[in-house]
Symmetry: C2
Subunit: 183 residues, 2 copies
DNA sequence: TGTTTATATATCACTTATGATATATCGCAA
DNA sequence: TTGCGATATATCATAAGTGATATATAAACA
């Protein structure tokens, strides 16, 4: 149940609505955490009943009330305790793309190559995104908010994303070569 | 809902029980797919009612019946259709370790370093596992079963795992250096 | 002798996550 | 002028996943 910490993490940077958290989530952490609005709104309410965040409703004409959430001192404490707690084990992850490749032994070469080439294209696109858009968003956010220390961490994580995508791309290129030479 | 395909994938290699699938899962795909027995057993039953696998119960003294599952032609077809279908988008993944680092801007250096060093240790252990144990298991399985084409795919996926862990290790080492120099 | 681990399946409660749909307005483009 | 995307929140049903517990035996271990 780390979504609560992701939400607290964003609210630790600035007060905002669930809708804005979702936008930030999509723009920055989508590589390592994601959630839909239907999960974010109820979780925020839960955090509110636990006293970790407070909400200020601002009624708008026509539109539903805008609920701006703010982290409380108790929320900050919970967040920091979680952040400081060292990871005790590597949480297992899921990757349907690798699952497909792993079991592709019984497919004919052409089908495997189609699969590998599609994944290569997707990975190249993602690599370019990390090198460009993601990098820019971080730079601009740091410039706009002055959060340089936070920016260092964001940039670190971005660099890993880039390194991983690069590893994917190089690996897929080699894999395609290898499969081409298969009988 | 890819667990069904993971199960079909294993049954495509050989008939086996849910318990044996779990062992194989833990030994090979745990990096990119995992599941508990409480998820595997009901899913196998579901696949059975759909006619994608058949079960042969073998009563044992004392122990519960051993249900050995076998993939059907219909099951093979479903599996191959899924394997051949190119990934249409990169499925989002979750990584609590990166989430912690991403939001660590408000922590003091010492706490961040503890976090990074713990994760570095875990990643080094995993890297050694890919280089040693995982590699061996693949070699031995290929030698025992003669599944050389499948073995090529398993080895490919293992190589990516190794490359990714190596990227993690190098990145964490650099990250520790960078955080040490932070004011 | 008692405890843990392995074999083998199963159920139950609960949490987490996804997809669909609803409401309501504004601006923009086809 | 019709429809789509953005803003903003919410509910509902279902699916997927986790943790705990139960049964039953044998072997390994301390």
């Amino acid at each position: 149940m780390s979504l609560r910490y992701a939400l607290l993490g964003f609210l630790g940077l600035d007060s905002m609505t669930g809708y804005e958290i979702k936008k930030n989530l999509d723009q920055s952490t989508q590589l390592f955490w994601h959630a839909g609005l239907n999960q974010i709104y109820p979780t925020l309410k839960k955090l509110e009943t636990e006293g970790l965040v407070t909400a200020e409703a601002e009624s708008q004409d026509g539109k539903p009330d805008k609920r701006t959430y703010t982290i409380t001192p108790a929320g900050s404490e919970v967040l920091h305790a979680w952040l400081a707690e060292p990871l005790s084990f590597l949480p297992p992850s899921k990757n349907a793309g690798l699952l497909k490749i792993f079991f592709s032994g019984s497919l004919e070469n052409a089908a495997v190559l189609r699969q590998l080439e599609t994944q290569l294209e997707l990975r190249r696109k993602q690599l370019r995104r990390y090198e460009g858009e993601t990098r820019q968003v971080i730079e601009e956010t740091v410039a706009a908010t002055g959060l340089t220390r936070e920016g260092t961490m964001w940039e670190l994580v971005r660099e890993l994303g880039e390194a991983h995508e690069r590893a994917y791309v190089e690996w897929l290129e080699r894999a395609i070569e290898k499969v081409r030479q298969l009988p």
